[in-house]
Symmetry: C2
Subunit: 91 residues, 2 copies
């Protein structure tokens, strides 16, 4: 599934041009990115929760040189699947 599929979903819910739907998708992702970058978490009941989380590790490796490189501190985003997504049973 790619952005176009999501745009199609929006078009189903609200008849409009594909361009408009794509704009909506872009705006959504933009808003979500903003929220996450802002440090806020996104909680959608029944779907999942996006949660920004600081990282601490610092050990990488260079394929070519095979040398270990220090990983600079940063943040990660964790997505916790909600109940509906946890409903995934024996695949």
């Amino acid at each position: 599934m790619i952005k176009l599929d999501i745009a199609n979903a929006i078009m189903q819910a609200h008849p409009c041009s594909r361009a408009t739907a794509l704009q909506a998708v872009d705006l959504l992702t933009e808003r979500m990115k903003q929220a996450l970058l802002d440090g806020d978490r996104i909680e959608i009941r029944g779907f999942g929760v996006f949660e920004p989380r600081p990282r601490k590790r610092g050990m990488g490796r260079n394929i070519k040189t095979g040398d270990s490189v220090a990983i600079p501190k940063g943040k990660s985003i964790r997505f916790k699947p909600g109940k509906d997504l946890r409903a995934i049973e024996v695949g």
Copy 2:
């Protein structure tokens, strides 16, 4: 950020009633859930990638009894933040 905020974002992109916006959000989450449950991964360039992943581990624990319990096989959803979200630097 909760579902209402996302609905507001949609309303900004496409003037409509809050109910319609909420419907769009629900439809989106529904579609995404469907795709993930279907085993398909969602790839949004610049935002991130949702990827269903089978679990293998099998060691849990019971708080009360303190007894180890076998974790039933299942699946997990991994969200890989895209470049824009990796842009999170020193928080």
